[in-house]
């Protein structure tokens, strides 16, 4: 029976054969089949499982006094995380291994400034601010596997953590969107994002995430949407040369040349570089070193000039996945994150990498050789 159903579904959805046969009908993930898509997803529509964000009603008939009262109520009540007396004990903290994947943070890209190392070399650093981040939800691998966003190549190893940034007034959003934050007890967030984590890095909803989630000297990956350029021609998008300005050239100064040959393999091949939408696409920059951390404003100084995206864009920052960097880590990072009670001494406002020059130090000079 299952086999017949699966064959029907295969024909209907045009998906990969093996997955259907391996799964059982009881698993809902089998219905939403996985089919690899090449190229980019060009749609402004959010995925179907997202809830409505904007409110359906608004307080247009409220008097100014009532508005002010509600505003004060939001500030008073939303600030403190709601702690129920029925809550369980804090979750056990796992141990870090090389295969562990911790959660990341949702930062804001600020700008790029130079810093100097102690041997006088200039490095450009990008500033990423971890502003008002909280864990919203943790889904264990068993449940995560049944959700709509699951991909088969993740297997059963990973659960997911939803992280939100920038607290807002709940009146700004719809009822369904506000309900997402019931479990964590934090005010609704302007932006949500999901990280794939291993079960040993499970983290309790409502936990604040700060810049101390990473340490100075760690390597991180930054994922963000690049600067959008709109629909662009072939010269700007792919750097093609165009054609001369004169010498009999008409109407094709910035056009591409031929698109393909004739004969047996003729025609336009798939993936031919052509005009189209440029930028505004997800991109990852891997293996960026943290050289300085500001603990007061929660700012990471990351060595790079090319973190994707414009100023003030959201950046997903997480531990690097580069195997050599993971192998090189000697001390395990704070698991699952750095809690305030972990810090025994008073935190200095700024933490520096040992190789980075501090501006309070005297100038760098070289000792004269004795001859």
């Amino acid at each position: 029976m299952a086999n017949k159903c699966s064959m029907l579904l295969v024909r209907a959805s045009n998906c990969v054969h093996n997955y259907i046969h391996r799964e059982t009908l009881t698993n809902p993930s089998f219905i939403s089949c996985y089919q690899q898509k090449r190229g980019r997803r060009r749609t402004c529509k959010p995925p179907s499982w997202f809830v409505r964000r904007s409110p359906t009603t608004w307080d247009k008939d409220l008097t100014p006094e009532n508005k002010e009262f509600l505003h004060g109520l939001v500030e008073d009540e939303c600030k403190v995380p709601v702690c129920s007396p029925l809550r369980d004990e804090p979750w056990p903290r796992g141990e870090w291994t090389r295969s562990t994947r911790r959660t990341g943070v949702l930062a804001i890209k600020l700008s790029t400034i130079p810093q100097w190392t102690k041997d006088g070399r200039k490095v450009y650093t990008t500033l990423l601010q971890v502003l008002d981040n909280h864990v919203i939800r943790y889904t264990p691998p068993e449940d995560f596997r049944k959700t709509a966003g699951w991909k088969p190549y993740w297997g059963q190893k990973f659960g997911s953590v939803v992280v939100g940034a920038l607290s807002c007034d709940p009146r700004k959003f719809s009822k369904e969107y506000n309900h997402l934050f019931m479990e964590s007890g934090v005010p609704p967030k302007r932006k949500l994002t999901r990280f794939i984590v291993t079960p040993d890095a499970a983290i309790e909803p409502g936990t604040p995430l700060t810049a101390m989630h990473f340490r100075v000297g760690d390597y991180v990956d930054c994922q963000a949407k690049t600067i959008g350029h709109g629909f662009q021609g072939v010269v700007k998008r792919w750097g093609m040369k165009g054609m001369p300005a004169s010498h009999g050239v008409t109407k094709s100064h910035r056009k591409m040349g031929g698109t393909g040959g004739g004969g047996d393999k003729g025609g336009i091949w798939k993936g031919k570089k052509m005009p189209g939408h440029m930028g505004m696409d997800w991109s990852i920059l891997k293996g960026l070193k943290i050289v300085r951390v500001n603990t007061k404003f929660n700012i990471l100084y990351v060595v790079s000039t090319s973190v994707p995206g414009p100023t003030n864009c959201y950046v997903r920052v997480y531990d690097t996945v580069l195997p050599n960097r993971i192998r090189a880590t000697k001390e395990p990072p704070p698991m699952p994150t750095c809690y305030p009670e972990d810090i025994s001494d008073e935190l200095p406002e700024e933490l520096f990498h040992e190789d980075l020059f501090r501006f309070t130090e005297p100038s760098i000079s070289y000792a004269e050789e004795e001859s």
Binding site: G120, Q129, G230, G309, T311, N312, Y366
Partner: protein, 305 residues
């Protein structure tokens, strides 16, 4: 009505400051970033009451009376004016680094046209540092990437060196002769005879008389015959003797001028930092450097501009 208008001037300026739709270029940049916050919204979230207290930024407590406008003396403290690249917190942190460096090494007041000597740590020279004397022909960039360019003639060869002002390898910056020239940039010295940019390496410092303003050197430079590195007839130079211009070049230079730009108030507003921000920065600078100066660095008061 007139009084009401003057009263509202501040509000209207604030409106411009708030709104991202300041210019046509800026608007396009802003509209196409759906994953991006506006700078104003980020500031709102930084000072939000829903936030923990330790993340909020310090505020200036009192307003001091600043004796003069420091933006011409230390132009590197004025941030770049592109509104969609600016971030006030970063600028604040960057300025704090600059004050720290200034408390260790003195960075004197100088202008384009001043004759300066800079000592730089150099691993490969026998004395482990190198001193260069020259005339400052250009001053660029702001913040930690501020730099200046010195020019001199060494062994019959024009030499220019670009120094970063906040580079920790810099040992000492001396101003041998403090003066200004008629132009903002002296790049035309590249196309002038070498005598105009030749300075002795053992030039003694020329002190200024007390309580005198910075003198302006009204020297007129005679340029070499063409070819030049740039079309100087289009630059509107003041400190240059008259030179021959052909009819064709004159017409083309006239076409390239933009005399209407001095009436473009919006462009003027956009290309600089508005006076509220500027006032805050100047106050902070005065507080940090003039009042909290260590005694070792405290010298005679700065001259009036």
């Amino acid at each position: 009505m007139a009084t009401a208008r003057t009263f509202c001037l501040k509000c209207s300026l604030h409106l411009f400051k708030k709104g991202p739709n300041v210019g046509s270029i800026g608007t396009n940049v802003f509209m196409r970033q759906s994953n991006t916050l506006s700078p104003r919204l980020v500031d709102v979230h930084r000072h939000s009451k829903l936030l923990d207290e330790n993340q909020t930024q310090d505020k200036a407590d009192e307003i001091l009376e600043v004796p003069r406008d420091f933006r011409f003396v230390h132009p590197e403290f004025m941030p770049p004016s592109l509104w969609y690249r600016r971030d006030k917190l970063t600028e604040y942190l960057e300025r704090r680094d600059m004050y720290r460096r200034r408390s260790v090494m003195e960075i004197p007041e100088f202008y384009v046209g001043s004759i300066m000597a800079v000592t730089l740590a150099d691993e490969y020279s026998p004395k482990k540092n190198s001193r260069f004397v020259g005339i400052c022909i250009e001053r660029r960039e702001s913040g930690l990437r501020a730099n200046f360019r010195l020019r001199n003639v060494v062994n019959g060869q024009g030499v220019e060196i670009l120094y970063e002002m906040y580079n920790p390898l810099l040992q000492k910056i001396e101003v041998l002769k403090l003066e200004k020239r008629l132009d903002d940039q002296l790049l035309y010295l590249r196309d002038a005879p070498y005598e105009y940019s030749t300075f002795s390496f053992d030039l003694a410092p020329v002190p200024l008389p007390k309580a005198s303003s910075v003198p302006v050197n009204t020297l007129k430079v005679k340029l070499n015959p063409r070819p030049w590195l740039q079309r100087w007839e289009r630059a509107g130079l003041q400190g240059v003797e008259e030179f021959e211009v052909s009819e064709k070049q004159r017409i083309k230079a006239e076409k390239a001028t933009t005399p209407w730009e001095k009436y473009d108030l919006m462009k003027k507003y956009r290309s600089g930092i508005n006076e509220y921000d500027r006032g805050d920065i100047i106050q902070e600078f005065y507080k940090q450097t003039e009042l909290n100066k260590p005694k070792t660095l405290k010298k005679k008061p700065l001259k009036q501009v």
